[in-house]
């Protein structure tokens, strides 16, 4: 089990590193359009041509063909490591223009193909992940913190406090949030900078999302507070906050961890809805949420399957988080017995 957990932690670290160093890993500028190359399939790497095998892979230029694109074998471009390309700021601070892989000009390498504007999908998935994963994690933290606080307070004190807070959760779960989103959009200034959009995303999702975890937590706490050790702690003069912190909270942790693993991918996907109301990340910035809207298009499912990359990336991320949450849960169970 330890080995499994270490593999997962390594995978998570790799994922996060990839998202931190997107500028370096992404071969292209995510917003640079190439209007001659929309919907290009993933570039094929070749190791062999008429003169035999080569160590260094190369790619061919693409020409429009009857059914999409065909490779133009007369023009080949070598793939190189450590290439100078478009400028970016590493970690938002250091201006650099080195990229891990690249291709001699004027060739283009699109590892996951291009989208409808000819923008490199691979770069967009990387850059998009930065925003989406961060937003998802932050939103989950907000929702769970609020939910856990309210749930513990409600469950612990019971009676009127419980009724009031549970009434509030019911209110939150019932309301027409779509209207609320419309109203929020109307009040905000028309253009929001990227950071503001980001925080707005998290705030809205967190604001709407605290109710469900609160109910689950409250249920646990209702039982937990009647446990012997809790009664004993109170008997010994422990204050309410001490008891809540020291004895109740650990019980609740398992539910919270399980919820966290669930909510992060859900909140990332929720951005699709928010974009419809103008509250998402706007063009041309990439985010998995606004790239996921292609899932509804039939032509994408049939002809341009490489555009499903953000969905695959989301699935991979969610699975890693989910499995890690499991490992954490098993450790918690182990500890509590």
């Amino acid at each position: 089990m330890n080995r499994k957990a270490s593999i997962l932690i390594l995978a998570l670290a790799a994922l996060h590193l990839a998202l931190l160093f997107t500028g370096f890993l992404a071969p292209c500028d995510p917003i640079a359009q190439d209007r001659d190359l929309p919907y290009a399939p993933p570039t094929r790497l070749h190791f062999r041509d008429t003169s035999g095998w080569h160590l260094r892979p190369f790619v061919y230029a693409l020409q429009p063909g009857p059914d999409g694109y065909i490779e133009d074998r007369s023009q080949s471009f070598l793939v190189r490591l450590m290439v100078r390309g478009n400028k970016y700021k590493l970690l938002g601070l250091v201006p650099l223009d080195w990229h891990l892989i690249g291709v001699d000009q004027p060739g283009k390498i699109a590892l996951l193909g291009t989208d409808e504007f000819g923008r490199d999908e691979f770069s967009r998935v990387l850059y998009g992940g930065q925003i989406s994963v961060a937003a998802g994690i932050l939103a989950t933290l907000v929702a769970l913190t609020a939910g856990a606080t309210f749930g513990v307070v409600a469950g612990y004190y019971g009676w009127i406090v419980d009724e009031a807070l549970m009434g509030a959760t019911e209110l939150f779960l019932c309301l027409p949030w779509l209207y609320f989103l419309l109203g929020v959009r109307a009040f905000l200034p028309l253009h929001l900078s990227a950071t503001r959009t980001f925080f707005l995303l998290t705030a809205v999702i967190g604001l709407i999302g605290w109710a469900r975890p609160a109910r689950l937590v409250r249920g646990i706490v209702l039982t937990a507070r009647t446990r012997n050790y809790v009664l004993a702690a109170k008997g010994f003069g422990g204050s309410d906050s001490y008891v809540m912190r020291r004895h109740i909270l650990p019980e609740v942790m398992s539910v919270l961890v399980a919820q966290a693993a669930l909510l992060v991918p859900r909140y990332i996907a929720a951005e699709v809805t928010l974009s419809f109301f103008g509250l998402g990340v706007n063009e041309p910035t990439a985010s998995w949420g606004n790239m996921l809207s292609v899932l509804q298009r039939y032509s994408v499912l049939v002809s341009y399957q490489w555009l499903l990359a953000p969905a695959v990336a989301l699935v991979i991320t969610s699975v890693i988080y989910g499995l890690l949450a499991d490992a954490l849960l098993s450790r918690l169970e182990f500890q509590s017995t």
Binding site: L182, L190, G278, P284, Q296
Partner: protein
């Protein structure tokens, strides 16, 4: 399971007389003056399924405001004079002929004799007078009323005799007979009572039983299943017959399935559950074209539509609103050279290629090549030139800073937002392309998708926006329906609403020209006037025109007389002529 389902559907779709579930058409009798469609032939039988966006909201043609309700009620109703969607000209419908007085103000229409409603009751001038009374009644608030009010005065309707009706217009109105298309003739014998009781608005709702509804259209209501489908059956008393004197329509039934988005419609079409798609985007069209060898589907590209998409900069009067930021930017937007520069920098070819998959046409004016009657061919189509754009900006006092950002004459960076409807994928794409185009000029453009009604609110009410991408037109080829867009007091004069008088000299000229063409009855003279209007609009760029899509439609190979048109309803305008071919006929057609 799959096989049996397909077999069952096949049986449904193919004409098998013993399974015909619609009422048989009444034999034409000598007392009826039927319309003879000389070019039409086909045979009876079959059920056509067509997918729709949503369910209708009502079966009442006066109340129906949404497209789906209008499409369905349109098959059940008929008008006095109809616009043939293929030729875009008017043709006699319930009125077999009409005479216009020399001053163009009086129309005397002769109705067809012996025509009956779908419930068998006779149709005559009383129904016409009643229908127009309904449309003109202020308490009913029919949107059609505005069509019939010219210069603040409504037209008047008088019954001359049982089959003759006279219309008097307050003043001459060009192409007045086009007004009659879309004004359904309603049955007095069914609707007079609820109307007198003040309950008209609630009649013919979705709860109405088929027996309560009667119309003069080719079909009548058979069944409505909430959330799922509407089934229309043949009107046995329909007033048209084909070249062999058989009474139309050919189809026994039409079923509208509420499928949803265009992608869902394509899925159902491919699965064989629907036989026709009214309007496709180019991506789905190309997808179906790929499969054509296998499916033999009929795919038709009708050429450019009559819509126009444009970029709009707000030039509204913001003095009583607290929108200082936008007011500041209006200095740029009001500068003609700024708008010309933007227009010069836009890559219209890419829009046509990437947004419409080459199935579209670039526009430089409000009338596109789809409108053959009114297009002004002399309007210049300047090619994209960033150099021209930069020169224009320079001559208007703009400059560039170190990082390449555009600065206005006062030194502020040029930055603005373009709003567009998030539910319209094509316009969103255009916005992204424009954003990129204008970045080459150093402008910082933000794309802001908004929910549809939120967008309308900003453009029409709060004026809280910088620029917007929108689309208009597509209703009719004639210039008159567009009056309110181009005259300065017009309610759709989007770039500068609520003008009490024309804000500029050219708008004054447009006002005069439009008013003049409205009362000019001669087509040649009207065309000259409207040409000048188009010239002015293309010069002054209140809207920066982008592109228009082609009308694309698809049908199962078994659908006969499938002739889509460039005007709405694209595929069902000739629903009375559609028929289901037998397998042998389909094979022959291939």
């Amino acid at each position: 399971m799959k096989f049996t389902v397909r077999l069952a559907l096949l049986v449904c779709l193919i004409a098998v007389p013993c399974l015909a579930s619609g009422p048989s058409p009444e034999k034409p009798n000598p007392g009826e003056e039927l319309f003879r469609a000389d070019q039409t032939s086909g045979h009876y039988g079959g059920n056509l399924s067509i997918g729709g966006r949503a369910e209708p909201k009502t079966f009442n043609p006066v109340i129906a405001t949404d497209a789906v309700s209008r499409e369905i009620t349109g098959r059940m109703m008929a008008d006095l004079i109809e616009i043939n969607r293929a030729s875009q000209q008017t043709e006699p419908a319930l009125a077999k002929s009409w005479k216009i007085s020399p001053d163009g103000r009086t129309f005397t229409l002769q109705l067809r004799k012996g025509i009956r409603f779908s419930d068998g009751q006779p149709f005559d001038a009383d129904d016409v007078v009643f229908s127009f009374g309904l449309y003109l009644d202020k308490n009913v608030d029919a949107p059609q009323r505005d069509l019939l009010v010219i210069d603040g005065k409504p037209l008047t309707v008088t019954k001359v005799d049982r089959y003759t009706v006279r219309f008097s217009l307050p003043r001459p109105y060009a192409s007045a007979e086009r007004l009659f298309d879309g004004l359904a003739m309603l049955p007095k014998h069914l609707l007079e009572k609820p109307y007198r009781e003040g309950k008209f608005v609630e009649t013919w709702s979705l709860n109405a039983s088929p027996a309560e509804i009667a119309g003069l259209g080719p079909f009548r209501l058979k069944q409505f299943v909430p959330g799922q489908r509407v089934v229309l059956e043949r009107n046995p008393y329909y007033w048209k017959m084909d070249s062999k004197n058989q009474r139309l329509p050919y189809l026994d039934e039409i079923t509208f399935l509420f499928v949803g988005t265009e992608d869902a419609q394509v899925m159902r079409f491919e699965a064989g559950e629907t036989s026709m798609i009214s309007r496709l985007g180019s991506e789905n069209y190309n997808l179906l074209a790929h499969e054509r060898d296998r499916t033999h589907a009929q795919l038709v590209d009708m050429g450019p539509s009559l819509e126009y998409n444009f970029l709009l900069f707000t030039q509204n009067d913001l003095s009583d609103k607290k929108l200082d930021g936008i007011a500041r930017k209006q200095k740029w937007f009001r500068e003609l050279k700024f708008r010309q520069a933007v227009s010069a920098a836009i890559d219209r070819d890419s829009i046509v290629r990437m947004v419409y998959g080459t199935r579209g046409v670039a526009l430089w004016g409000n009338v596109g090549p789809g409108n053959k009657l009114w297009l002004n061919n002399a309007i210049p189509h300047p090619q994209r030139s960033l150099e021209n754009a930069r020169n224009l900006l320079k001559s208007a006092g703009f400059s560039w800073n170190q990082s390449g950002n555009l600065l206005d004459p006062a030194g502020a960076e040029v930055e603005f937002s373009i709003i567009t409807s998030s539910s319209n994928a094509q316009r969103m794409k255009m916005a992204t392309l424009l954003q990129d185009d204008l970045s080459h000029l150093g402008m910082q453009v933000h794309v802001v998708p908004l929910e549809f009604r939120a967008l309308i609110d900003r453009v029409f009410q709060s004026f809280d926006y910088d620029a917007a991408i929108m689309g208009l037109g597509g209703g009719d080829a004639d210039p008159n329906p567009e009056m309110n867009v181009w005259i300065s007091s017009g309610t759709s004069h989007l770039w500068h609403l609520h003008e009490t008088e024309p804000a500029t000299a050219w708008e004054r000229e447009v006002d005069e020209l439009m008013q003049q063409q409205m009362i000019t009855l001669d087509y040649g003279k009207r065309k000259q006037l409207y040409d000048r209007v188009q010239e002015l609009i293309a010069e002054q760029l209140p809207f920066i025109f982008l592109a228009t899509p082609n009308i694309l439609a698809a049908a199962d190979p078994r659908v006969g007389n499938f002739h889509p048109a460039s005007l709405d309803p694209y595929t069902l305008w000739n629903a009375d002529e559609l028929y289901i071919r037998t397998p042998m006929e389909s094979a022959g057609v291939r």
